[in-house]
Amino acid sequence: MNKSNTIQIETKTLNVTIHNNPVLKNIDIQIPAKQLTAIIGPSGCGKTTLLKSFNRLLEIQDGIKIQGEIVVDGINIMSSGLNVPDIRKKMGLISQKPYPLPMSIFENVAYGLRIHHDKNAKELAEAVQNCLQEVGLWNEVKDRMHDPASRLSVGQQQRLCLARAIAVQPEVILCDEPTSALDPIAAQQIEKLLLKLKKDFTVILVTHTLRQAKRVADHVIFLYFGKVIEQGPAAEFFNNPKNPETKAYLAGEIS
């Protein structure tokens, strides 16, 4: 693994409370650029909360308090006066269950492009085609681009969401258990795609299946009850865990 990798996201004493319950406690992590980082831990340990704090999506919910710093590309995104949509544009989000926007397949991918770029119809169509090819969906949908996206299968929808995310050329792709709603074959497709995409993007994958993390991760962050227990390169983390709680979790003794 390349040690000279730059850091894409870094948090400094990040604390999050939801309705005054602490959910994340003193999180200090570094996420390397152009790698696949897995955030693992038992359910309810704050994985999704951590993921959504990276693109400031947390704050659209009620009763959330965030303290600390989240540094992306050397900028603390928690500082005031920043344009939040610009921060979010840098990070695509793939949710547990795919949520295609209520419009056609084409418009789903074109949605972000229309907002951020002034493209003419031909350029737009090309860009949409590129994104769909990138996620291996083009051949399946090229004849029905103007059908509502809700008619696709769930697995196709998840790949459409991926295409929609990379269309706005983010730097990071945030994945919140993207395969948990999918059948094994569709899940495998998504996993392969994530491995392919990490060449161009920093991929952060929240997962509760250890085996998935073992299969795909370069870097692992282990959360337990809102605290970071251990983080490091995947090989080291899985083969030579330092913390007793990590050992117990890997052995399946805590969950």
């Binding site: 959504k52 693109n55 999506l57 659209i60 919910q61 009620d62 949509p85 610009d86 979010r88 544009k89 990070m91 695509g92 989000l93 949710s95 269950k97 949520y99 295609p100 926007l101 209520p102 419009m103 949605y111 972000g112 907002i115 951020h116 509502p148 809700s150 969401c161 929609r164 995310a165 706005v168 945030l174």
Partner: protein, 352 residues
């Protein structure tokens, strides 16, 4: 062994005795006017009824319950056709007396001279409904979006009950307030402002104003319902692509909630179109097309309200009013069917 089916119940001797006693009680009541025997057999019937119902099996309860629900549903549908039949039957008199085109395309409504032209009233109805919707729809949509998407939670929780109460206030209350507030306001300020100095305040515009106010809470309340049912993950999907809140509202939430919003508008239209008493109190009750919005008019619904007292003195007027009711009924029917088809299309198109 309790009976398991209705046929099984009829085989039961106790049930037969029960039915017989009910029959006897009626005979004694109607044929012999003997109240003592009537009461006696009725009590026997009731005792047997209660006894049987305690003993019937759960399966029979289930069968009876299902049939009862079916009966209730069928009778509601039956009522629809019964109403339509009564209206058509009642209109036959006026339709055989005058031609349909005379009724609809002539503007003279003079019941005492036997003239029942509805053109002016139809035009007034369309104007009043249209203006009230033009005022109500944008304002209610904006406020529904604000409450659902922008307002802090506390504000939302405080405002919601007020809107729901407003939606349930009897329309005569609105009518009275309009009479006391809007009529003078239109007469003294709004009409002169638009250069119409002779307005009495009883006008199409006043009616539109009060209708729009009555329609607000309905549209807002129903829209809130559908905005709130848009999953938060859909908003997150749009926001995470770098869309602003307004872009998300406009392009995503509005579509996802689209069918519900359309339904709300249709319902609001129905209320505005058919509202009677509040309109009748402030519209001026003149069956003519006024030269300005600040002149008096009459809508189909208010026409019935302000004429029904004369029905006994002019026999054919009753038939004419029933014909007006038929028009109201058919328009509401058509609008509902239209709404249904638009809704079907929209929910297919904007599914998420």
């Amino acid at each position: 062994m309790p009976p398991r089916t209705i046929r099984g119940m009829l085989k039961n001797k106790l049930v037969l005795v029960g039915i017989l006693s009910l029959f006897l009680s009626f005979i004694f009541l109607f044929l012999f006017s003997n109240f003592f025997l009537f009461a006696l057999f009725l009590i026997i019937f009731i005792i047997l009824l209660v006894y049987n119902f305690i003993k019937v099996s759960r399966k029979l309860y289930d069968a009876l319950g299902t049939r009862l629900m079916l009966l209730a549903t069928v009778s509601v549908i039956f009522l629809f056709f019964l109403l339509l039949l009564i209206l058509i039957n009642g209109s036959i008199n006026i339709l055989s007396d005058q031609s349909l085109s005379d009724l609809i395309f002539s503007s003279t409504w003079k019941p005492f001279s036997g003239k029942f032209g509805l053109f002016a009233v139809i035009v007034d109805t369309l104007i009043v409904t249209a203006i009230s919707m033009v005022i109500a729809v944008p304002i209610s949509l904006l406020s529904a979006i604000y409450i659902a998407e922008y307002a802090p939670k506390k504000f939302r929780n405080i405002v919601r009950p007020f809107i729901d109460v407003l939606a349930g206030v009897p329309s005569v209350v609105f009518g009275l307030c309009a009479l006391l507030v809007f009529v003078p306001l239109v007469r003294d300020d709004i009409a002169p402002f638009f250069g119409s100095n002779i307005s009495s305040g009883f006008s199409l515009f006043t009616a539109s104003l009060i209708l729009s106010i009555m329609v607000f809470p309905i549209i807002i309340s129903l829209c809130l319902e559908s905005f709130n049912s848009v999953p938060i993950a859909l908003k997150e999907a749009s926001l995470s692509l770098g869309a602003t809140k307004w872009e998300t509202v406009k392009k995503v939430i509005f579509r996802a909630a689209g069918p519900g919003v359309l339904a709300a508008i249709f319902l609001g239209f129905g209320r505005a179109f058919g509202e009677t008493i509040a309109v009748s109190m402030v519209i001026g009750n003149q069956e003519l097309i006024p030269k300005s919005l600040f002149g008096p008019g009459q809508t189909l619904a208010s026409l019935i309200a302000s004429n029904y007292t004369e029905v006994s003195s002019i026999p054919i007027l009753a038939s004419a009013l029933i014909f007006v009711a038929l028009i109201l009924f058919v328009v509401v029917l058509i609008f509902n069917l239209l709404g249904y088809f638009v809704l079907q299309r929209a929910s297919k198109r904007w599914k998420y």
